[in-house]
Amino acid sequence: MSEPHSNSSASVAEPVPASPTLAEQVVRSGPYSVDVPISVRDDMHVPARIYADEELLKAILQGDALAQLVNVTTLPGIVDYAYGMPDMHEGYGFPVGGVAATLLPDGVVSPGGVGFDINCGVRLLATPFTRSQLGDRNVALTHEISRSIPAGTGRGGRLTLSDDELERVLAEGAEYLVRERGFGIEADLEHTESRGRLQDADPAAVSRRARDRGAGQLGTLGSGNHFVEIQQVTEVLDPAVAAAFGLEQGQVTVLIHTGSRGLGHQVCTDYVRLFDAKLAQFGITLPDRQLSCAPASSAEGRAYLGAMSAAANFAWANRQMIAFYVRDALLRMFPGTEPGSVRVVYDVAHNIAKREMHQGRSLCVHRKGATRAFGPGHPELPDEYRSVGQPVFVPGSMGTSTFVMVGTRESESRSFASACHGAGRALSRGAAKRAVTGAAVRAELEARGIAVRCPTSSGLAEEAPMAYKDVDRVALVVENAGLARRVARLSPIGVVKG
């Protein structure tokens, strides 16, 4: 009789301790990594690992990014770890800066692990000109490029594709534009991830709406954080690798950042909706609907991979077309220049899911806001880079540096050969606009000799340098974590914002 009474007294006298938060359960696993053990939540299939130092970790823990990364560990078929890159921040479903791989054939593919902007990525062009040769014409060149490339969203590309032409772009990507239309040279393809064409592409899996959105958008930037930036090489950190990439101190480069535009957004929309409706049929329960997925071997999973690959091909074709316009602008400014002397250093995707072999396993590697970073010797690398590794580009923000990095062998076992994709946002767009005006950003950049073209003033404020983390720190952590090594620093001299 006394026991219930005793229990009752105890429950009043001793408050139940609060459950530890997710952030409190993070444990350091190395000087530049922390883990969330698999025991933290019952639905985790693997642990999560974030590459960060204390400073970057503090920023990562401020939003929902950690919880989102833990949610990723619940995907059926996920192996090893869900990885967070040093630039990770909260998104929806997957965090931005998340990497996860599922075991094929039956592991899942998740459109949320790729994002709406399928094959958003960056392409670096190396020009034959030095900063001193360009002189004060950086302003004119920025203007010429902004006139050549429609920014903003919606329609408006200079090239409108017929249905047949769009079909070829979806199936053949940049290869079609170079080989059939003459919008580039063969070397461009050799220096593009997957040669600018995923063979799995299935245009039939791309909806009419997606095609209609994409038909007038080839060769357009899009809005948000998309840009074309004219830069100069201001620091060479690894001369041997820089030489292999064809980069040297003082050289003018151009970085293009854009993706698959409305076509890719619609492909993602279509398949998230389809998978969300079919989750119960697949017997899959998820903590976040935006992680909706399907077994890669299912008819629905195969259809998504076919459509996603077609959208990825569209994105590579888009960056190819923009590179063509940039070359054209440079050739107008420097008559007599050989088109081939404006070289594609490399073109990498940072929103994609790909079938890759890692440690003897066939995996579906999702990189959302993360860059593939193959180390030396990888057979997929072009001949000139095979002995040094894959170029990786880490842009900061308007007004700060971009780092050219190179993939390492160690990244294979540490992150499925992945590295970060940028500095990562630190402030929301609203917070950035409250903190600074577009006019102030423009004035500050122009005072530093950086020419700016942007369709809206608010767009400038949203992408202000203060809205991003410190890219120097992010690149250093990537290097110290063994994911990629720094090769060169590029500094902006002209920015065309979408």
């Binding site: 929806y92 709406f116 969203t153 809005s223 969300d276 976040d288 609907r289 935006q290 909706s292 609203g430």
Partner: protein, 140 residues
């Protein structure tokens, strides 16, 4: 119709809170959010009225699918759809829900919309007291 929308801070994306006196108001307000984001419209006369109908398994899903239908349609036609009438949300016999409306838009002078798609992430739509309230996250 009485409705209201306000942006909320989100580091990566764009979160918006939408409220209205009726469920239809919430759908109208969502359409206006998307139209306003598209950019300045021209002084041209509005385009012809169009019919729109979206069906989904429940109301929150319907709101996301409605937003995505408008985003896609807008990008294809080049119109910002801010005029709507006969907006009707109905429950169907198979427990699904449908929104139907007439809408028309004006051509957008220069597209500046950062909105790529509406997501199901952290989605909410509920009736509290005399008000319907939704929270929607857009990828930007």
């Amino acid at each position: 119709m009485r409705h209201h929308s306000a942006a909320r801070d989100h580091v990566g994306e764009w979160k918006v809170t939408i409220s209205g006196r009726s469920i239809e108001d919430v759908f109208v307000a969502t359409a206006r959010v998307i139209a306003n984001a598209a950019g300045h419209t021209t002084d041209d006369a509005p385009a012809e009225w169009e019919s729109i109908e979206v069906t989904a398994r429940d109301l929150p899903t319907l709101l996301v699918d409605w937003a995505n239908e408008l985003l896609g349609r807008s990008e294809v036609t080049g119109l910002a759809y801010s005029e709507l009438h006969t907006v009707r949300v109905s429950h169907l016999n198979d427990r699904s829900v449908r929104v139907s409306a007439q809408l028309r838009g004006k051509p957008v002078e220069q597209w500046t919309s950062p909105l790529k798609a509406a997501t199901y992430h952290a989605l909410s739509l509920e009736e509290t007291g005399n008000e319907w309230r939704a929270e929607l996250l857009f990828d930007v």
